[in-house]
Symmetry: C2
Subunit: 207 residues, 2 copies
DNA sequence: ATTTAGTTTAACCATTTGGTTAACAAAAGT
DNA sequence: ACTTTTGTTAACCAAATGGTTAAACTAAAT
């Protein structure tokens, strides 16, 4: 007889959501099987359809939840009211912390967005909640005019910041394999990046 | 009488490869349908199996070909015999050029690697052809000791270089949507990055 | 104790999908 | 000429997969 352990405490719906999250994020939407999710949740396949009508509905639920962990961090830097360098430090640190917990996140989100950009991007920012980079870009412009940082295209600097922060998590398997790096070493490197990246950026633009 | 060139049209095998490449890279392996590929190639589905036994064989053929466009560029920087800054400029420029032609490439390759790292990474570098970053990392060490660049962990600098170069192509749909950027504008930005990225890196580390 | 509403399951169904077969056409040998 | 090999197709098949159904179980409400 199969003993249920910790999961006994979780509601069926939560068990499904946890299972779906695991299967979808590791295999991707197309390769994920409803049966896999049912097995992972330790329930019957029909029960999936009882709680979530169909695969799309279940996927959208998971995707939206995951995307909300991914994107608000990008927004943050646009909304925040703070000096430039402080903003950069905060953005990188918070992002790296989140991704260290969920390293699968960026590739999952970016990949599904790539497969159907309109569908997902509109789903994430239904109406007026879309990120507005203008303020941040203006802040960069203003710092350049003040002469506190060297001349650089604000859009390029923004891209650099995001690239430096997110990419290593997208390419984790490649890095760890090519650089013969155990997972623990990779995680240490990511922790270091919380100071490394801001240092690198600021050293490049500070006058 | 004017002689016609032989094979003005593509051979069936080439039509299949082109079609498979398109379908696999846009939809991913799991979501790609053999029928889609047959349609795209304008042939019967059975003919696919005549040329390539099954889906896995066909996919591996495509994946290997694409991965070979993606990875040698990473190797290049490790093999090349040149001054550091020149190396950086060359790496970025060549990589950006390649990705501008095949923007789908990084996400496709990284995504499939993520789904089964051992299988693909071993398939790409069968035995002794694996990239060896040691020389490049040593060069960085040596430049730091000489005092031509500031103190920085070589591994972090390597990651920064790769991240800055590749990430924008992985996140293209996100960038163009969030920053309300037409495709042409994005492409222009990428062209600019060929000088922007080396400048950014060198400004950060040069002493 | 009986009803009722929600939960769960085994069995089933329809469609999709990768893959095969057999027939046939076009080249290539002989 | 005719035989063999290679290229191509329509029809078919079995397995996989998403989804449904009806019945059974459970726990609370009446």
């Amino acid at each position: 007889m199969v003993k249920k352990k910790k999961q006994q405490t979780l509601s069926t719906e939560d068990k499904i959501l946890a299972a779906a999250r695991k299967v979808f994020t590791t295999k991707g939407k197309a390769a994920a099987r409803m049966q896999d999710i049912a097995d992972e949740a330790g329930i019957n396949k029909a029960l999936l359809h009882y709680y979530f009508r169909d695969k799309n509905k279940l996927f959208d639920t998971i995707f939206l939840a995951e995307a909300k962990k991914f994107f608000p961090r990008i927004n943050m830097i646009f909304e925040l009211e703070a000096p430039l360098f402080e903003k950069i430090e905060k953005f990188v640190a918070e992002y790296v912390d989140e991704m260290r917990i969920n390293p699968y996140l960026p590739l999952f989100v970016l990949n599904e967005i790539n497969h159907d950009p309109k569908r997902f991007l509109q789903k994430i920012w239904g109406k007026g909640t879309m990120p507005k980079p203008e303020k941040f870009l203006q802040q960069l412009d203003s710092e350049i005019k003040k002469g506190t940082i060297r001349k650089i295209q604000p859009m390029q600097l923004l891209m650099n910041m995001i690239s430096l922060t997110i990419f290593p998590f997208v390419a984790e398997p490649m890095f760890t394999y090519v650089l013969r790096m155990p997972d623990k070493k990779f995680d240490e490197l990511m922790e270091q990046r919380k100071v490394e990246i801001p240092q690198f950026i600021i050293a490049s633009i500070k006058k």
